[in-house]
Symmetry: D2
Subunit: 341 residues, 4 copies
């Protein structure tokens, strides 16, 4: 079987496991107050060129999204997101369960446009019934998006500007940030992200870690009583160091970026070959997720040999499938896949 | 510094880290559907002598408590627990945040008495205003309790019987179960627990794991839509195997029991020496947590040399402190501690 | 000032106030267990030709929507509604606050199409990731809709059929039901509604009552522990009879229908004159709410003389306004309004 | 049947119904922005000698408690209350459903002692694990209490002082405030209450109103976005004037105080006769609720003739029952009751 269904179906990186092993016999303080979390935070602050960033470590992506959104919003506010945003589609209602509406904006290949944010805010402010309407209290975007697309630096800056104008914190879901930062031609770097976003997370689960995400608050805006509130959400890890240590290693000698680059390299090798073979791509993704339009014959050829993700059925009967490369995909996997395609 | 403050301030067990290392290059299916979770579940079912047990893996204790309670209770019900129960005292309101009242029962050295459960249920049923009173919908106990004490088999059976009579699921918080199962003289085994409880969890974080707890439903009573609902709580791990594999190792060749026994042995070495020295114990605990009554002179001697937990201030000015041994405590640590005390 | 801004800005009907006066010195049992609630329920059951209907009385519309939806849905489910549905737009996030997502469907002049419901359900069922997607657990529609439009009997039956196929309870928000039942040419009656819907409410606040709504469960499907749960929502009235008595009077000698008819008559008088004068209607509404497209000159003429509702700004700079007639609007009010327009 | 079961089982006061009748044909603005709410608020501000008080009108007591507590607390805080407090015992978990813990304090005949508040706050502040413990964020008391007892002015001032010291808002549930203000010998007046409490409500339902409570914020502390948030709770009344007008009448010519006094007079007539007859009172209540200890013979005599409330069963087999007089109880009712007792 060739594994292209997703990027969280591999083990973790050997360097991380070796670090775990080295901790044998050590004592750490609890709840993320340990030296590994501090060291990882320091490295992340440096990589973001954001010395005042506050960094916290959580176990998973939906958990991180729910916590950032619930802890940042006032109880009566909702979070604005693209119709296709992960918080709106694939989190089992975790945001609503914590009491908040997801206010949908048009998705443009998965991305949110600054003009749509402005329109939403103007509409809300101008509505005489706005006391009866959920106030947008935050903007959620993902980078890369659920469709593998990327914001440009200019787009991020435009979003950041419009959010600033309306006092709307900008939060970036970076579940696949490693791949986004490594994409060819992108001008979005960690420092750019740290300047534009009020909060974002650096995804570990999909980039070499065993589990865990690094959540970064960039504007001295760590929510009040953060530890208490994540405990209330069931998200406080006694051994918080178990995530901190992983990020400490991922941000040593550029491992995180290297893993992201590898995933993108594998995806581009796949993509270029697909284009050469005349395959129709569903969307122009510069990152590790590639979406191709498959007919039934192709699906049959894949069956039992390649693990892929069903994305959607087109009206003409063909199927969009996702092929995701990861930090652990090998060249020979891609070539074997291409031989089948 | 000697580390006796708690039992979650050590690294994890070497065997677990070696298992992680061995998974390099492997592919696993997501969300706990993998071979390691299945293997661990099978070993746990065997250890519990409960072939129909449904086992799931979560990241932490408060999360597990919140999930079991919220998913088992009807929206209008509350959970009954000892006044001193962890869900009532030290979970930052996680149960109430998910909408449920913690209904308190008297604590008897941390334990709940069957007669008190019966009295609660009779009072509720007999009250003409019961439609305005939160219905007790579950009983929460911890074993060992927050005070290190243990239920006897007879006590558990009595609780199980009264719960059965009132259709009240019995849930056991086993954060420190390893230590509980290894205590001298206990007649409570995993099969006993599986017979008496409707659900319980086997704590990993405090018994050698990097993180993670194994949640066991014993009566074909896994809550409907379990995966969806834990996702809604932010508790679904993409790499669920990361917990499964740890329990697979912990339940290989009796490692879990061995670690629990070691923690108890160290605590008993400490306790016997304390008794010999004439120290006053606050409570008679047969498990890894020992509570001693300390005067100011003693606290001064410990200062800067021993990490311990403040428990409570007595009216006579003395202080109850907790000294916790763990699976990783060494004999020389205990002896060094004794030299200071 | 002429009052056309809404239909809840009048006092209540004299007959209701006289009934209140007649209760002087009476004793009633509490929480809706009284003779007036029972009598009103009996009359509503008869009017619905639904002898097994369970009728309950609540204070307001958003409260009723929140309660029906939260008490009917499982904790992990969401409610499907038109994008323009009241629960999605103007209830301040009351549904999400109670933990549930509003899943939006296209609105067709405010209405939901059976085909869209089917498509939603097929999409959810067919999605391999559906465990991560909120399950639609109920369909919410309003009749009349927020745009004054009405379902035909055939449309309601089609919705009822598709809902039945997917075990999706159908709930109808009848805030303005009096006006809907009285519209010219409608073939939807209370018995039709009772057959098609699993639950609906008969709006009192906008049809002569001082306050209050009558909630009808038609299929022996009153949610478990209804009284306890509405108490938990803060919605249980000690003097439940205060709503029951109002509905008892509204359903005596056809008062409810008479008031609805009057509101529609006034709206039609207005509409016919508007059409004669060449006004452009925004939507074809057969009920008490009329939406007209106004230019700035018209708005200026209305200013300070007519209370109306701003609806939306069109791209050509003109404005949609709502003029609502009510049970209390008088012919001379309409004529005075027409003189200004 | 003689009606002494509770004080919310009467109709409303005639003067209120006459006021309703007088509004025929009037137009009011919505959501409590009308002239009646404003007039009532003005009268209440005057009666409280608190010109800056912000007054809002809600439908019922549990709703009011839930709203004040949820809107005042931070999401991670809980409300402290006597073990016997209504929010802890008889509100079906409405506080927990909105996410907050009720932190219990000892009840002293239903009352909370300032020393216990101080002890709670010191304990929380002094606890090294306080980040894991729910922070007390408000104090809830009832006046009169659930046992009919009253705070003295000195006791209220002491509570207010200790609350001030710990920045803990003091909230007073005044469901039966009319009776409390009218009790013989009390030195607590509305101005005293307004000075001591940060928020309190003046109960209408149990003092002549058809329904409704007047909520008073005394320190310029109306929670942000009040209207939006009560809508989110389902508690916003379109015809808010329907409560405002009732309080406008209740605060005209001292009607509210007169009704409270009448209830107390009737209770005292009952109490003095009971004492003369040698009945054992369960508690010393100076207000409209009287609690007597009844043997089975007495209960038999009452059966079918007197509606009373069961309170609790004593260990000696006797029963505590509550006999509540109300604003509508007549002298002959009391005398008829006494003839049976």
């Amino acid at each position: 079987m060739l594994y292209f269904a997703s990027d969280y179906m591999e083990s973790g990186h050997e360097r991380i496991f070796r670090r775990f092993l080295e901790t044998r016999g050590e004592h750490m303080t609890a709840y993320g107050s340990d030296r590994y979390c501090e060291s990882a935070a320091e490295k992340i602050r440096a990589a973001c060129e954001c010395p005042e960033a506050e960094v916290r470590f959580l176990a998973g992506g939906t958990q991180t999204n729910q916590i950032v959104i619930d802890l940042t919003l006032k109880p009566w506010q909702g979070v604005a997101a693209a119709q296709t945003g992960h918080v709106n589609t694939h989190e089992a209602g975790a945001i609503e369960w914590s009491g908040h509406k997801v206010i949908t904006l048009p998705g443009h290949d998965g991305k949110v446009a600054a003009a749509d944010v402005r329109a939403l805010m103007e509409q809300w402010r101008g509505d005489g019934s706005r006391e009866h309407i959920v106030e947008p209290g935050m903007l959620y975007i993902s980078h890369p998006t659920e469709y593998g697309t990327l914001y440009t630096r200019a787009e991020l800056e435009a979003l950041s500007a419009v959010c600033g104008e309306y006092s709307l914190p900008l939060y970036v879901d970076g579940a696949r940030l490693g791949s986004g930062l490594a994409a060819e031609g992108t001008d979005v770097t960690l420092p750019v992200l740290a300047r534009c976003a009020d909060a974002f997370y650096i995804g570990g689960t999909k980039c070499g870690a065993l589990f865990g995400e690094a959540l970064v608050f960039t504007k001295k805006n760590l929510p009040e009583r953060f530890l208490t509130r994540i405990k209330q959400h069931g998200a406080l890890l006694a051994k918080g160091w178990s995530v901190g240590l992983q990020f400490d290693e991922l941000f040593t000698d550029g491992l995180y970026f290297e893993l992201g680059r590898h995933a993108v390299d594998m995806a581009m090798r796949l993509r270029r070959a697909l284009e050469a073979k005349g395959f129709e791509l569903f969307i122009d993704s510069p990152t590790n997720q590639q979406f191709i339009i498959a007919d039934d014959a192709l699906l049959e050829r894949l069956d039992g040999k390649v693990a892929y993700s069903f994305w959607e059925k087109l009206s003409d009967g063909r199927t969009v499938i996702r092929l995701a490369a990861s930090w652990a995909t090998e060249t020979q996997d891609v070539d074997a896949l291409l031989a089948i395609l």
